[in-house]
C-alpha cells in the first residue's frame, strides 16, 4: 500500500499573527504541523502498519518547513517530499495541481490523506481539488476509517451529531478531522530516526506548471478582541434576572 499524506506547515495556533505590509505576515513565529494533518498522518501510518507499504509525506512550503517535516517524520512516515515555493499564499487550485503532479510522478498512490482544512488559510477545498486532479473520489470531515479490499467504509460528520456512512473505492482522498484517531507522541528513538529519513527537495520551477493564481490575497486585517466584560453583580438570582433583561431589552438577542 502506498499512502501519501499532504501536510501543511502553519503558524502555531496560539501565536499572535503580525501583519507585515498589508498582505504578508511575520514568519518568525513558531510553526507547527497544521492540526488536522496530525490525524491524517496517524491514520496513514496505522493503515500501513496494518497492511504494509510506505507512507510518504508531501509538503508545499518555503524551506523553513524542514523542521516541521522532521517533526512529522518522527510520527511514522517513511520519507518526505518538500516542494519549495517562494510565496506565502498559494491558492487551493494551484496547490492541488502541484500536489497531484508530485504524487503522480512519485506514485501511483493507493490512498491520500490530508487534514480537512489548513489552519492558516482555512480554504476547506484542497482535498477535493486534489481528488479531481487525480480522478479519485474524495470524502472529508472523516471521523472513522475502516479499510477493506479495494475500498473503505468511512464515517463523515455532517453536523448536529449526525454522521454519513460512506463506501469509497481506492484510490481515494481522505480528509481527516478530530475524532478519527489519537495521534501518537513521538518517542526519542523516533525523533532520532526521523533525522535520517529521506527528504526529497523539489523546486516548484522544475515542475514547469503554469499557475492560475485565481484567488489572490488583497490584504489582511487583524481582528480586534472585545474589551473587558461588564460584570453583572448581586446574588445569583439578581444577576441572572439582570442578564436576561439586558439580553432581551438592550442587546435584543432573545425573543
Amino acid at each position: 500500500m502506498k499512502a501519501y499524506v499532504c501536510m501543511k506547515h502553519v503558524p502555531d495556533t496560539a501565536a499572535s499573527i503580525k501583519i507585515v505590509g498589508g498582505k504578508q505576515i511575520d514568519e518568525t513565529v513558531k510553526y507547527i504541523i497544521s492540526p488536522h494533518d496530525e490525524y491524517a498522518i496517524e491514520e496513514a501510518v496505522r493503515l500501513v502498519e496494518k497492511k504494509g507499504g510506505e507512507v510518504v509525506l508531501v509538503t508545499l512550503a518555503k524551506e523553513a518547513a524542514m523542521a516541521t517535516i522532521r517533526t512529522a517524520l518522527a510520527l511514522g512516515p517513511h520519507r518526505a517530499i518538500l516542494v519549495r515555493i517562494d510565496q506565502t499564499f498559494l491558492d487551493s487550485q494551484d496547490t492541488a495541481r502541484i500536489l497531484a503532479k508530485v504524487i503522480a510522478d512519485d506514485g501511483p498512490a493507493d490512498i491520500i490523506f490530508a487534514g480537512k482544512q489548513a489552519m492558516d488559510t482555512e480554504g476547506m477545498q484542497t482535498c477535493y481539488r486534489l481528488g479531481a486532479a487525480l480522478d479519485m473520489p474524495v470524502v472529508t470531515d472523516v471521523v472513522r476509517f475502516d479499510p477493506a479490499e479495494g475500498k473503505a467504509m468511512v464515517e463523515r460528520e455532517i453536523g448536529g451529531g449526525e454522521k454519513e456512512v460512506i463506501e469509497i473505492s481506492f484510490p481515494c482522498v481522505i480528509g481527516a478531522t478530530k475524532g478519527l484517531n489519537e495521534p501518537r507522541f513521538p518517542k526519542l528513538p523516533d525523533v532520532m530516526k526521523a533525522k535520517k529519513k529521506d527528504v526529497k527537495l523539489i523546486d516548484l520551477k522544475s515542475l514547469n506548471l503554469q499557475l492560475d493564481n485565481s484567488v489572490q490575497v488583497i490584504h489582511l486585517d487583524s481582528v480586534s478582541e472585545r474589551s473587558k466584560a461588564k460584570i453583572i453583580g448581586g446574588s445569583t438570582g439578581e444577576a441572572v434576572r439582570e442578564l436576561v433583561r439586558i439580553l432581551r431589552e438592550e442587546e435584543k438577542v432573545l425573543d
Partner: protein, 316 residues
C-alpha cells in the same frame, strides 16, 4: 447585470433559516438571483425565497438517480444548471453539507471558491473571510468567469428584498460512477440544531465534570431553542461528543448569543466563536481570562447560575 445562483439547503422543515443570510449576501442592484433546491419542490420554496430576492426557484432533479446517495452527482447537476442559467457567481451556505458540495463543484469546474465568507462584494468579486483561525481576516480577489463562495451561517444579518419568484424544474442526465456512495445517515438522538447553524449556544468546559452534568446546559439550551457546545478539554475528557466542540479543532460558530460556562477563554476557543454577536461568560474565577474579552460576565458557580438562568428564561 449579474446572474447569481444560490444553492439553498433544506431539511424536513423546508428552507433552513440559515439560508436567509446567504440570500441577503447575494442581493444587489441589477442582480438576477436564481435559487437552486434539491429534494423539495420549487413551488414549496417560492414564497420564502422570493421574499429574499429570488426571481426564480429551480428544483434540480436527477432523472431517476438517487441524489441523496451521491454528493458528486449533486455537484454534477449543479454544474449543469450553472451552465444552463449562465450563472457567474454561485453562493452557498458554509455548513457541513454546503461546504462539501460547493467544494465538489469548484473542484470539478476549476472555479475559484472562498469558503466561510463574512462578506462579499459581487461587483468587485472580492470576499472577506477568516485566516489564521480567526486571528485575521483576509480580503480575497476571485478571478474567473464563474466564482463561488460559501457564507458563514449567521454572519450576515438577513434583509428582505421581496419579488415574485417563478418555479421550474431542471434535470440533466448524469449517473453515479459508484466510487463514493452514502450508505446510511446516522441520526442524532438529541434533535437539537447543529451548533454551526444555531442562533444561541451554551457551551461547557472542564468544570462540568461529567457527561451527565452537561444536561444542565441541555435544559438551558432547550429553553432557548439553542444548541449545546463544548470546549476541547471537555470533549477530550469524554464529557461531550466532538460534534459539539467549538474552537480551532472543532466548529466555528457565529450565533446571536454565546454563553460560555466554566471556560477559561483560550485563543483556540475564541477562534471558533469570536464572531458571535454577544458573548456571556459564567465562571467562578473572577480572574479567568475570558472576562477580559467578552461582553457580559457573571462570577459564580455554574451549577447554581445555569439552572437559575434556565428558570429566569422560562418565565417570560
Amino acid at each position: 447585470m449579474a446572474n447569481i445562483g444560490v444553492l439553498i439547503e433544506t431539511d424536513s422543515t423546508g428552507v433552513k433559516i440559515a439560508n436567509y443570510g446567504v440570500m441577503t449576501a447575494a442581493q444587489g442592484e441589477g442582480h438576477q438571483i436564481i435559487a437552486f433546491v434539491m429534494g423539495i419542490a420549487a413551488t414549496a420554496c417560492t414564497e420564502i425565497l422570493g421574499r429574499y430576492g429570488a426571481t426564480q426557484v429551480i428544483e434540480l432533479s436527477s432523472q431517476g438517480e438517487n441524489l441523496a446517495k451521491s454528493p458528486d452527482l449533486q455537484a454534477g447537476l449543479i454544474i449543469d444548471a450553472v451552465k444552463e442559467y449562465h450563472i457567474d457567481f454561485l453562493f452557498g451556505l458554509c455548513s457541513s453539507k454546503g461546504k462539501d458540495i460547493m467544494a465538489r463543484v469548484a473542484a470539478q469546474t476549476g472555479a475559484p471558491l472562498a469558503q466561510d465568507c463574512l462578506s462579499v462584494d459581487v461587483a468587485a468579486r472580492t470576499v472577506v473571510k477568516p485566516f489564521f483561525s480567526g486571528r485575521t481576516t483576509a480580503t480575497l480577489q476571485l478571478n474567473g468567469s464563474l466564482v463561488l463562495c460559501t457564507i458563514r451561517p449567521n454572519a450576515i444579518e438577513e434583509k428582505e428584498a421581496p419579488v415574485t419568484a417563478g418555479a421550474a424544474v431542471f434535470s440533466s442526465a448524469r449517473s453515479n460512477d459508484g466510487r463514493l456512495v452514502i450508505k446510511e445517515v446516522k441520526k442524532n438522538p438529541s434533535g437539537r440544531v447543529d451548533i454551526s447553524e444555531a442562533n444561541i449556544i451554551i457551551t461547557g468546559g472542564r468544570p462540568l465534570g461529567s457527561a451527565d452534568n452537561f444536561q444542565i446546559l441541555g435544559k438551558c439550551a432547550d429553553t432557548l431553542g439553542g444548541a449545546v457546545g463544548a470546549s476541547r478539554v471537555a470533549v477530550d475528557l469524554g464529557y461531550a461528543s466532538h460534534s459539539m466542540q467549538v474552537g480551532q479543532t472543532g466548529k466555528t460558530v457565529s450565533p446571536r448569543l454565546y454563553v460560555a460556562c466554566g471556560l477559561s477563554g483560550s485563543v483556540q476557543h475564541f477562534a471558533g466563536m469570536k464572531t458571535a454577536k454577544v458573548i456571556v461568560a459564567i465562571n467562578n474565577d473572577k480572574d479567568a481570562p475570558i472576562f477580559q474579552k467578552c461582553d457580559y460576565g457573571i462570577i459564580g458557580d455554574l451549577f447554581e447560575v445555569v439552572p437559575a438562568l434556565t428558570e429566569a428564561l422560562a418565565k417570560r
